[in-house]
Symmetry: none
Subunit: 232 residues, 4 copies
DNA sequence: CATGAATGAGAATTCATTCAT
DNA sequence: AATGAATGAATTCTCATTCAT
């Protein structure tokens, strides 16, 4: 099985980016032109939501909490978002956009010291982005249930990363793994989940350790056959 | 940071598993002396909960749903469990037990074809167990928020796996990675998350493909320097 | 134009009686077997609603008001009805049933003193029924808006009366009016609206006066050509 | 009870019509000196209200809806009206005025072909007026609840019609009905309600059919004893 | 005159948990 | 043991009205 898994992650890709991409949730899809004032309030709400999601998690987060943190009123919230999920979508769209952009910047990886460093740098960027949006990502994890289409966004993002990685893995000659596409997803899984463990404080590891470990494993995984150590 | 991370995952490990027995609220105390009838009802409820968690997720699951699926009444539910979380703990304890047991069975891994096959077999067992308890695990993922102690159980389980793997990784000579303990966690992360992707149907990969991929990467990762291909 | 108008009133007749006819609103279409206790509560709620609708009207009626009058709790309300409209439907179904039954009892009308008396008796029964359900009918008037299907029930009921009357009007020989079916509806309109005026206290007329007036006009209308006075 | 019912309808007639001018809240006081611009906005709002009332009904109509249809802002609305009811009163006053005027034009009715035609013409005028203001009338029907004084306006209007008719009925010699005043109200009820049925599309009857039917019944009712058919 | 933004009281609805039978 | 019924605290959401620009 060679080519399909690559597309697999996008199996449920209906709502790629769409209108929401600009992060404007907006009253039931209306919410046109916002003046300075309006934009400020919108941002206050989004920021507040991040804080509350971080502290409470998605499900436990109350619109009331968000409103309090944003120092605005209940009514105002519904002026900008139809409900909590709507706001959440706006945040997710932001993450999604940035993640996709990052995935497109994955460099070609050489079995050299330089290649190792470049890879490390890129994983570092991923981790930083992941850390920044950690509350949103955790919330996504939480809400990733049932038939909701919320999970799809996440799947798309992961798929994006996997695809980027697949391209690089496929460039490796001679091939180390028999199914580069599946392997790519496994690697993404590792990067993602390991970052999650670290950020959730389940794991007492710092940024450098994380990067060293992930980069090593990936580099070894990619070039196992052709070289000894990344440090060479 | 070299040796400690192994313990890191258990940073929050207060309630190992006996949780169920101690934290059980008032009513469920009668859980002890259960006659045939009682046991049957208990089972019905646990099974029903699995089904509902699977379909709805933990947060969205209503006691009412569970009760309906179990074809019993509201009152009866509270005869067996103090609340939804209590029931969830019971399920988690089961998973936890079986997972721990499995982690203790991780074989010593040799850089040979046999070692590869043994590892593959073990990962297969993990995946099957993971698949069986998928609803519970997903629910755990969901509930892993805030100050609840529910997440700890999961951390313990992962820590168990990581520890088992660390032992094996440390046995490898010469060492491939500089931080075997951290690397072990990264690998567990990969196995776990990749399985999750597959089971959540985000990924169109079958069991064999999953096992091939994971085993390959792990085996390569462990013995990168000393050999070429696991298949040799 | 002769025959169509007769059917006209039923132009929108989708939900004739259906399951709701027994007046059991019921939690989203479930609400199966009710014990004595349950039935009592159901009745309390329906009665309370009549009182509140009478006093406040449909729109202004709050679930809270109903619950208070019924001396029960908010939660209980939603145990029996999905919402205010659901309860209202249950009441409407009752009215509808009784009205339909009454319409079927309209006697054949003779141009005699006896015919007059029989007609008067029947209109009296209508008025009494109308008076009994006045709160519901007024609420219906209020809610008879837009695309809701609530209005249809009422249309059906009126249509039932009109049809009954048409049959009688058509029996008259020689025919007095050219379009008996349309005329029948006009007469129903008069009976209904006049009753409404009287009951809404817009009009200071007592039951006997109402019956005398309506019966006279109807009798005259039906037999204008063949006789002088109903009293002869 | 013989003569009084004529005044009955006005039993609650405190605020004949100048209501608008007295009950107007604070802001709309500026309604006076309106320049071209202002008048245009005022009209836009009134028209919009008609449209929204038509579509949604009075209660369900939101100030927001009206404002949107009028393509103006929330703030502007309150520049012209104290609230929704205030606007509604303004519309009602218009209807009321025109209705009253029309009622004063009811011709003396003769038991002849000419009388029939004149009556038909007049009912036609009534129906057209009724049709034009249908949204307002329906809204009035809806709001005619409780202690609001809104209903009174309507009662007054009806009373006006009834009085006009009473005068004509009383002119008939020999008298057909014993209580001309009550009968007059019953007839008004019929005309009004039948028109309502037709306009609410509950009834598939066109304008001519409506006029034929109503005129026939009325003419027969008035001159039952003295003639056979209006067409003779 | 006009408008976008904000407000907050009020109403609907859900659901875990308790209770009487 | 089991169950139908009841409860009410907690939340979400709406919308008339006011305000600053």
């Amino acid at each position: 099985m060679n080519a399909r898994p690559a597309r697999a992650p996008s199996r449920r890709v209906p709502v790629s980016k769409s209108a929401t991409s600009t992060s404007v949730g907006g009253v039931p899809a209306q919410e046109r032109k916002l003046r300075t004032q309006g934009k400020k309030t919108l941002r206050k709400l989004l920021d507040a939501a991040m804080i509350v999601f971080e502290k409470r998690g998605y499900h436990a987060a109350r619109v009331d909490d968000i409103v309090k943190v944003a120092k605005t009123s209940h009514g105002t919230f519904y002026l900008y978002f139809a409900n909590k999920e709507d706001l959440f979508r706006a945040l997710l769209a932001d993450v999604s956009d940035e993640m996709t952009e990052l995935s497109e910047q994955l460099p070609s990886i050489a079995p050299t010291r330089l290649g190792y460093d470049e890879l490390r740098l890129w994983i570092g960027q991923f981790f930083d982005l992941y850390a920044r949006y950690y509350p949103v990502i955790r919330a996504w994890t939480e809400s990733e249930v049932g038939d909701s289409d919320l999970g799809e966004l996440g799947v798309n993002v992961l798929g994006g990363f996997a695809n980027a990685l697949i391209t690089r893995v496929a460039e490796v000659d001679p091939p180390v793994v028999s199914n580069p596409d599946i392997a790519a997803v496994a690697m993404v899984a590792m990067i993602e989940r390991f970052s999650y463990y670290v950020l959730s404080r389940s794991l007492d590891v710092d940024r450098d350790q994380l990067l060293d470990t992930l980069t090593s494993i990936l580099h070894v995984g990619l070039f196992a056959g052709s070289r000894r150590r990344p440090t060479r």
